[in-house]
């Protein structure tokens, strides 16, 4: 059920708007961290790469998406609502007491969430577990893991990278949302992990560096990842934190805008910018 690039771009816009609405309504959350990944998550869920059954979220043969950077939960929830896991209205219950849409993903309370995350650095190891299980069970599903770039500071990421290479897990793809910021500043300044692709290459991975906010490039990269045999793939997705509302963030004087919602007074401007956006 792959969609055209144009249709996918429209999806990504709708997802960005939902990210903005849900976090502003919640009064907290991480819209900028969510928006940088909108193309990647849209392509995975609607570009024909993931097979899933919203009526049977634990279908054993489903492809898996693990959001290692769990604070970007709003992009996951928006994509899941688009896919039909739950009604879109529920997005406005984000972070409210009783809602399964918790601040960080909770796999027990929301079917379709593959891992409970929010403590950075852990998702890739969980992905290795899923990929090994596929091998044990002789199943053909693929596991995708999305990490942050700041998140690469966690040593566990590199333990996972080494183990994935050891077992030649070509059914595992790690996408790094290289949005150039982490909580306290520029990722290159806080802890420069460049070259990210070079590090994964050195660990034995197939690597690609792409414009992660360009739907065509994201689709092509995910397609190539499926062709690789005998090694896991890392896609370094060069993105912008807050992609879709960069002009607004510039006027607000904070292009990282980490961990805070757009104020209700700025919401219309943010949504208008997303809707006018080219990509």
């Amino acid at each position: 059920m792959s969609e055209t690039i144009d249709a996918l771009k429209q999806r990504a816009k709708a997802i960005r708007v939902d990210i903005l609405r849900s976090t502003t309504e919640a009064g907290s959350g991480h819209p900028s961290s969510s928006m940088s990944a909108a193309e990647v998550v849209t392509a995975l869920y609607f570009g024909g790469f993931m097979n899933y059954d919203v009526k049977n979220p634990r279908w054993p043969d489903r492809d898996r998406f693990i959001l290692s950077k769990g604070h970007a939960a709003p992009v996951l929830y928006a994509a899941m609502a688009e896919a039909g896991y739950f009604p879109k209205e529920e997005l406005l219950t984000l972070r409210k007491l009783g809602s399964p849409l918790e601040g960080h993903p909770n796999m027990v309370r929301l079917g379709g969430v593959e891992a409970s995350t929010g403590s950075l650095g852990q998702g890739l190891s969980i992905g290795v577990g899923h990929a090994l299980a596929a091998r044990v069970d002789g199943k053909g599903y693929h596991t995708y893991v999305l990490t942050g770039d700041g998140e690469l500071g966690e040593g566990q990421i590199w333990e996972a990278a080494a183990s994935a290479a050891k077992y030649g897990l070509d059914n595992l793809t790690c996408i790094v949302d290289r949005n150039h910021f982490q909580q306290t500043g520029a990722a290159e300044e806080v802890l420069n992990m460049d070259p990210i692709d070079g590090k994964f290459t050195a660990f034995g991975w197939h690597t690609q560096v792409i414009n992660g906010n360009d739907m065509g490039e994201v689709m092509a990269a995910l397609g190539r990842a499926r062709q690789v045999k005998g090694r896991p793939t890392c896609i370094v997705a060069l993105t912008h934190k807050g992609q879709g509302m960069l002009k607004l963030l510039e006027t607000l004087g904070d292009t990282n805008y980490h961990g805070k919602p757009i104020k209700p007074a700025d919401l219309d401007a943010a949504i208008a910018e997303v809707e006018a956006g080219g990509s």
Partner: protein
């Protein structure tokens, strides 16, 4: 709002969050303590060590999102005679780096000050993954560690100096939301490691609390007083070493206890109090805590209500403890 008020909605005036008070105190003490070196793992704007960092950039390091590395680095700094202060969310610094705390800090008994912010469920909307609810238990399980849980801004300021003066590893737990003031502004809060502060006297029972439950304990004591129950209230800001003397006096003189804390049931203040009294002077005790469950997303007030961390629950537990005395 008597009865239904959560631990954050006290009758007392609201003061700074304990993380803010810690951050300001550390910044203020930096000049006086030249050996202090602060290391951050990309959360200094949450833990408030950024204020020290701005004032003393040569003694501040941000090593990225890497808590086990953070703790290991602190062990190295302390081995070289520095006094490292390291801070992250309580959940991450205790849980992600526990082996490093054990091997690089506790085992050699090094002079490292570990600060865990965003403790408890009162962080609210971010939900369970960010809530340190087991940190006190873990810290108490590190041999030689002093474990501090402060109630308000004034006591946190005092604790920050006390933990720098103490030689050896210390864990300080701080919280995210602004909390009610327990100590007056006009005098420094009394703070001696290992010595509880008695905030109110009473003969019918003793409420032992720490963190934001101290304000609830005081509110509960007022409510109980109006129905003829006189409660002593102890701010047990030091969980380890626990103040045995104050606990024994409380057991002997009041005959029943309530222990209130924003922490899991296992291994926190309740365990420390029960262990002390079971050995030396058993009396009825009731516990107000998070039980054996993770938190979730919600408003801080809504969560404190849902999980029973309110003055009303403390008062209810107090009535039950007093009733058990005569049983």
């Amino acid at each position: 709002m008597a009865g239904a008020s959560s631990a954050l909605q006290s009758r007392r005036p609201i003061g700074q969050a304990t993380r803010d008070a810690f951050g300001r105190a550390l910044e203020a003490l930096g000049a006086e303590y030249p050996d202090v070196v602060v290391v951050d793992a990309d959360v200094s704007n949450s833990t408030r060590t950024e204020w020290f960092g701005k004032k003393f950039p040569d003694r501040f390091f941000n090593i990225g999102i890497a808590e086990s590395n953070l703790v290991g680095i602190a062990g190295g700094l302390a081995s070289c005679g520095k006094t490292p202060v390291i801070a992250s969310f309580a959940a991450f610094i205790m849980c992600n780096a526990y082996d490093q705390l054990r091997m690089a800090v506790a085992y050699p008994g090094l002079n490292v000050k570990v600060v865990g912010s965003h403790a408890g469920i009162s962080i609210g909307e971010d939900g369970a993954s960010q809530m340190g609810i087991e940190d006190v238990s873990l810290a108490c399980s590190l041999p030689g560690f002093v474990v501090l849980v402060t109630a308000d801004e004034a006591s946190t300021r005092a604790a920050t100096r006390a933990l720098l003066d103490h030689k050896g590893p210390v864990y300080l737990r701080t919280g995210r939301p602004d909390v009610p003031k327990v100590y007056p502004d006009d005098a420094p809060a009394p703070f001696v490691i290992g010595k509880a502060n008695q905030l109110r006297d009473g003969s019918d029972l003793t409420i032992v609390a720490n963190g934001l439950m101290v304000a609830s304990a005081l509110d509960a004591a007022e409510e109980l007083s109006s129905s003829g129950i006189q409660a002593r209230v102890l701010d047990m800001h030091t969980v380890k070493p626990i103040d045995r003397e104050a606990l024994l006096a409380a057991a002997k003189e009041t005959g029943a206890l309530v222990v209130a804390e924003e922490h899991l049931a296992h291994g926190g203040l309740g365990s420390a109090v029960a262990m002390t009294l079971a050995e030396q002077h058993p009396v009825p005790i009731r516990f107000v805590n998070l039980g054996d469950t993770f938190g979730e997303s919600g408003t801080p007030e809504g969560l404190l209500e849902k999980y029973g961390l309110t003055a009303a629950k403390v008062a209810e537990a107090a009535r039950s403890a007093v009733a058990a005395k005569s049983a």
